[in-house]
């Protein structure tokens, strides 16, 4: 087993490279699995799972909305962990992992917000209400929007990776406190919002739970595939830039 690390030190210092190679090897499998599970989810949602008694058809968006919201937390967890590992190890792959997870995570926060609004219109009668979850998701959207802006706008002489890692860590640590504060804000000032839906998950019929969990698997696979795809692109772009620089130097020395 030549690939097996000989020591903890080696394990940590080569973890990013090994993760990357495993990701590339698993990429086609994850992609096709994502397509397959998503097809199953659509079949379950449209033909199998019974219509919700009160809400009817609009409730079906729940099977995409809830997994998107779960995945966004997972994505930002990846940003947080990769940022810490980057500041510790300083190998560029950790930075690429964080960057790509943030991009795809941002996509899923947007999806969670948009599907939530589309669901809210027929059920609550309004696209937007300052409910605790909506509010904290919106703030999360701003935090990671800011993270991506720092990446995009860093001065040429600044170390983008280090700066972004710090923002990713501080931002993630704030998320639970924001949740708590927004929850208090809404419960200390109760508003007459027409909440027909109970807490998702609590007392959910088995058929709905099965559909939800299948969809969670499908959306996780889609997220992972998109993330790997972005990481691969960024890695390839970096290698290309490196090659160009090398060629450039050789040309100049030949002249």
């Amino acid at each position: 087993m030549s690939w097996w690390p000989r020591s903890w030190r080696q394990f940590w210092s080569t973890l990013d490279g090994r993760t990357y190679h495993m990701m590339l090897a698993a990429r086609p499998w994850i992609g096709w699995l994502a397509v397959g599970t998503m097809a199953v989810v659509f079949a379950l949602v449209f033909w199998w799972v019974p219509l919700e008694a009160i809400q009817g058809y609009p409730q079906k968006i729940f099977y995409i909305h809830v997994p998107s919201a779960w995945i966004m937390y997972a994505a930002f967890g990846v940003v947080f962990a990769s940022s810490i590992l980057y500041l510790w190890k300083r190998t560029p792959l950790w930075d690429i992992f964080a960057r790509c997870a943030a991009e795809v995570g941002f996509l899923f926060v947007t999806l969670a917000l948009v599907t939530g609004m589309l669901w809210g219109k027929p059920i609550w009668g309004t696209y937007w209400t300052w409910d605790a979850r909506l509010t904290s998701t919106l703030i999360l959207w701003f935090i990671y929007g800011g993270y991506l802006l720092v990446r995009a706008l860093a001065r040429p002489d600044a170390d983008v990776a280090r700066l972004a890692a710090v923002v990713g860590i501080v931002g993630f640590l704030d998320v639970p406190i924001i949740h708590l504060s927004v929850l208090w804000w809404r419960t200390l000032h109760p508003e007459p919002v027409v909440m027909i839906i109970d807490d998702p998950g609590g007392g959910l019929p088995a058929s709905m739970l099965i559909t939800l969990l299948t969809s969670l698997v499908a959306v996780s696979l889609i997220f992972t595939w998109l993330w790997i795809q972005r990481v691969w692109q960024e890695r390839t772009a970096e290698n290309l830039a490196l090659l160009e620089a090398l060629l450039d130097r050789r040309e100049r020395s030949a002249r």
């Binding site: 800011g146 720092v150 706008l153 700066l163 860590i169 924001i178 708590l180 208090w184 200390l188």
Partner: protein
């Protein structure tokens, strides 16, 4: 940690600010103006005023802070003063603590002028809870200055600078603003001391967590 170094940086910032009162003085006017504009936005009745008051106070402080943090940090960028600080044998944490303390003192100074004006303009009756109000103001200001100083250093390393600072700072300050506005509302309404103490403890927890995190992480922001 170098307390003496942090103290020296604080003393330097205070001396600079006292010699030309421009930033803090202008920011008092700016903050009062924002609080005034709030009244124009709603054409409020006296009841509306009392309901909006604590929120208006925090929003104007939020804006004033966002402008101030950027400026207080930018003065280190001028003439490469920051490079001078970085080559001196000073702990990065002490450097942050000094700048943080300076920002806190400046914001508290602005509040000394802003709070009485806002209370009068919005016809707010504190019901004698001055000590509680001061405690809440101080707690929220300490946390906000920590985040503000930290992100001013981050934003200074981008091309957008002053524009990016509030975008990074405001979302992360939401717990503090809620604590300030809701805790203040509880004081104004009177008889809701339980709510007040809950919000105050949230702000204290925020200060402890982000005071520590920002002090430790600052090193990575200014590292050359």
């Amino acid at each position: 940690m170098g307390w003496r170094a942090a103290g020296a940086i604080l003393a330097k910032d205070l001396r600079l600010e006292l010699r030309r009162v421009e930033t803090v003085g202008t920011m008092v006017v700016f903050a009062v103006l924002v609080a005034t504009m709030f009244v124009f936005a709603g054409d409020p009745t006296p009841q509306d005023l009392r309901r909006l008051g604590p929120g208006a106070l925090w929003v104007s402080l939020l804006f004033a802070g966002a402008i101030g943090f950027g400026r207080w940090f930018a003065q280190e960028e001028r003439n490469q003063a920051l490079q001078g600080l970085l080559v001196s044998p000073v702990d990065r944490a002490a450097l942050f603590a000094g700048k943080w303390a300076g920002a806190t003192v400046f914001l508290l100074g602005i509040e000394c002028a802003l709070v009485p004006v806002t209370l009068t303009m919005y016809q707010l009756d504190m019901r004698g809870a001055w000590g509680e109000l001061a405690l809440l103001l101080a707690t929220v200001t300490i946390g906000y200055s920590a985040l503000g100083t930290f992100f001013a250093a981050v934003a200074a390393r981008t091309t957008a600078g002053e524009l990016l600072l509030p975008i990074l700072l405001f979302p992360l300050s939401v717990p503090l603003i809620l604590a300030g506005a809701e805790g203040g509302q509880a004081l104004v309404e009177g008889g809701r001391m339980g709510d007040y103490w809950s919000w105050l403890s949230l702000a204290v927890a925020f200060d402890v967590i982000f005071g520590t995190v920002c002090t430790l992480a600052f090193e990575y922001v200014i590292e050359e």
